[in-house]
Amino acid sequence: MTGHDVVFLLVALTTAGAGIMTVTSKNLVHAALFLALTLTGSAAVFLVLAADFVALAQLLVNVGAVAVLFLFGLMLTRAPIGREALDGQHRGLAIGVSGGLFVLLSVLIIGAFGGEGVREVTGPGVNEIGIALFAQWVLPFEVLSMLLLAALIGAIVLARRSPGESGTEAEPTHIELSGDPSTEAERRPELTAGGER
């Protein structure tokens, strides 16, 4: 067992553990953080295998964007966070599906690459990819910035209220929670009823 193998084993075990914690954690924020750890771990696996570009892309896209997006989504949508927020109604089904997927992928991967040993990665490194990005693919890269700009403007348009648009015309959202009055006015009628208490 070489040092390389030991490092790989440690990283892989951490990743797998974090993955299990992601699905067993009862707290949504904890689950999201464990997800970030899992994704970081898989980036580290790529790094150990000397695929540095894939590792960095994984880190940037999945950890930097997706996991952070999860956390922001949790904060902004006022999703139920805290203990016991996650229910386990579909646990059996989820175990069945993910177990089946695991077996299927294992069989496929072992069947396809089982006999081969570890080989040197011969793909282009970050340097070459970077140069290609800004020389060969400079136009799509620049057009991509327009795509992001359009997405940004679109998000602002969808999210922002304009001055004339007070929101009063919209129906207040009713959330049916065992008959609880859900709007502020219903919950605290004394606020709207004036001083007639």
Partner: protein
């Protein structure tokens, strides 16, 4: 056009190859800044204008007179607009966007005359730039013309409409400009990656624009529906592109065209990729049976956006279809020609049939746009130089006719403050003869009646189809045209032959609307009676970067 490369492999950039797109892109950024600046607009306008003038002067000193003049004019116009409309920033935005699009149009023509114009007889020259990402050829030229003209017509058309519905926001023009740039870029894109990204730029902008009237449920539905269906179509398209890349090992369209016919290329993988790509692009231009999103989205979106979507999206979508099938897949002709022919036949018949039973004019025009996608496809499956120029020309005439029709519809919708049905058209010929005349003219053009632009377009497409031996498809096209003529002429008939019912007030026509509607009506007649200039341009345009 490969210029000397420096040591790092960073290429020199052929600016002329995408000069027209630079103007609206810059304008979108500047207009966004103006919107943010609020009352201190001058603090943005003055330095930007100064920079543009300086750039223009520098361009003139290096003998690029026309681009220099465009930069100078736009640079002077920006602060002038801010001074001229101190209380209505929305007018600054609209004028700024309009001028930028006019500049883009001028640069498109400059690019044609300076770089691409044919020497003597024969097709135009082509320019392959930026390591094959950009191909400036006939498709690029006509897509630019169509898209920029449409956007130029749509901006003044919708100005008053948006204000009346109280849905105007300063982000409108920048988003519209970005969508336009995406479409124009799609017309020039010559590799799969650039195609996909350009496609996403304009569809992403259109998702937002379709859902622009957020408090209108239908508009919300339109935005969401367009987003969901279009995103799925994009995913399918991307999957097809990936498979084509797997089969050929390249994303460059001409290289794919060379590789895909070789014996070493796995034919089944390429064929599945081609099938997925066909589904994806058929969604984008709404060929039946992938058209189901179209009527709802067209009906729900604000009418000026619908006009833009109907006219310009069609042109951009067909640009990518033409380029993919004629440049990348000509050797798989035996696979895609029958499939696309059947799709075209279904589209023409189904669209015309469903248009008859509609009451809402926007839905009628939506189904009409589906039908027209079928006609344009005839030119694609003809798979010839004639077919190419016929389709390009057809898309231009269709765009102008549709813009005129939706313009007239906007005036009616503003009176009614709601959907427009046949009852609203009754007796319009007496109440507002000018508006009725424009609407009738656009209907005649869409129906393909002689002496309008639509007739010449249809004639060319059908002739290309017959020359390619697709007589059955052309027969179906003619049948569909006759059916379609029924509902187009019924609209005209209701306006002129029936009595008005009750007092409804005059349709509201703002200056911008009347100017754009008149311009498109004049264009419809001009292209119908004197098509020669543009027909020559179209037949010159049958040149591709292969």
């Amino acid at each position: 056009m490969f210029l000397a490369q420096s040591a790092l492999g960073v290429p020199d950039i052929a600016w002329s190859s995408f000069a027209p797109e630079l103007v609206p892109t810059t304008a979108a950024l500047v207009l966004l800044l103006l919107g943010v600046a609020g009352r201190r607009r001058m603090a943005v306008a003055a330095p930007v204008g100064l920079a543009a003038v300086a750039l223009g002067v520098w361009l003139i000193t290096i003998e690029l007179n026309l681009p220099g003049a465009v930069a100078v004019v736009l640079g002077v116009a920006l602060p002038a607009l801010v001074v001229a409309f101190p209380r209505t920033p929305s007018l600054v935005q609209a004028w700024g966007a309009g001028l930028a699009l006019a500049g883009a149009l001028v640069l498109t023509l400059w690019q044609y005359t300076a770089v691409l114009a044919p020497v003597g007889e024969g097709p135009m020259l082509v320019q392959n730039a930026l390591q094959g990402s950009i191909a400036n050829d006939g498709i690029a030229l006509f897509t630019r013309l169509t898209v920029y003209v449409t956007a130029l017509l749509v901006i003044p058309m919708g100005y008053g409409y948006l204000r009346q519905r109280r849905i105007y926001r300063s982000e409108f023009e920048p988003l519209l400009l970005l969508a336009t740039v995406g479409m124009a870029a799609l017309g020039t894109a010559n590799d799969l990656i650039t195609i996909f990204i350009a496609l996403e730029v304009f569809t992403l902008s259109l998702y937002i624009l379709a859902g622009w009237a957020r408090r209108d449920r239908r508009s919300e539905e339109a935005g969401l529906k367009y987003f969901v269906t279009s995103a799925i179509a994009s995913a399918v398209l991307l999957y097809g592109m990936a498979l084509v890349y797997v089969a050929t090992g390249t994303v460059d369209l001409p290289a794919i065209g060379l590789t895909i016919g070789l014996v070493t290329t796995p034919r089944s993988v390429a064929a599945i990729g081609l099938a997925l790509i066909t589904v994806g692009v058929a969604f984008k231009v709404s060929l039946a049976p992938f058209h189901l999103w179209t009527p709802d989205v067209y009906q729900g979106a604000p009418t000026n956006i619908t006009a833009f979507m109907a006219a310009a999206t069609k042109a951009a979508g067909f640009a990518v279809i033409l380029r993919l099938y004629l440049v990348a897949f000509p050797t798989l002709e035996a696979l895609w020609v029958p499939v696309l022919s059947v799709l075209a036949a279904i589209t023409m018949l189904y669209g015309a049939y469903l248009a008859i039973v509609q009451r809402d004019l926007k839905r009628i025009l939506a189904y009409s746009s589906i039908t027209h996608a079928g006609y344009a496809t005839i030119g694609v499956v003809a798979n010839s130089a004639d077919g190419l120029s016929a389709t390009l020309w057809y898309l231009l005439t269709y765009a102008i006719g549709t813009a005129a029709a939706f313009g007239a519809l906007i005036a009616l919708e503003r009176r009614r403050q709601g959907e427009v049905t046949f009852a609203d058209l009754r007796g319009l010929g007496r109440e507002a003869p000018d508006l009725a005349a424009v609407l009738a003219l656009s209907m005649l053009s869409l129906a393909g009646i002689p002496a309008t632009a639509g007739f010449v377009g249809k004639l060319m497409v059908f002739r290309a189809g017959i020359d390619a031996g697709l007589t059955w498809l052309v027969v179906i096209g003619v049948v569909s045209s006759v059916v379609a003529a029924f509902f187009y002429l019924r609209i005209a008939g209701v306006m002129f032959l029936e009595e008005p019912t009750g007092e409804r007030g005059r349709p509201q026509v703002s200056t911008g609307l009347s100017v754009t509607v008149s311009v498109s009506a004049v264009l419809v007649i001009y292209l119908g009676i004197q098509p020669q200039l543009f027909l020559d341009l179209a037949s010159n345009a049958a040149a591709l970067v292969r």
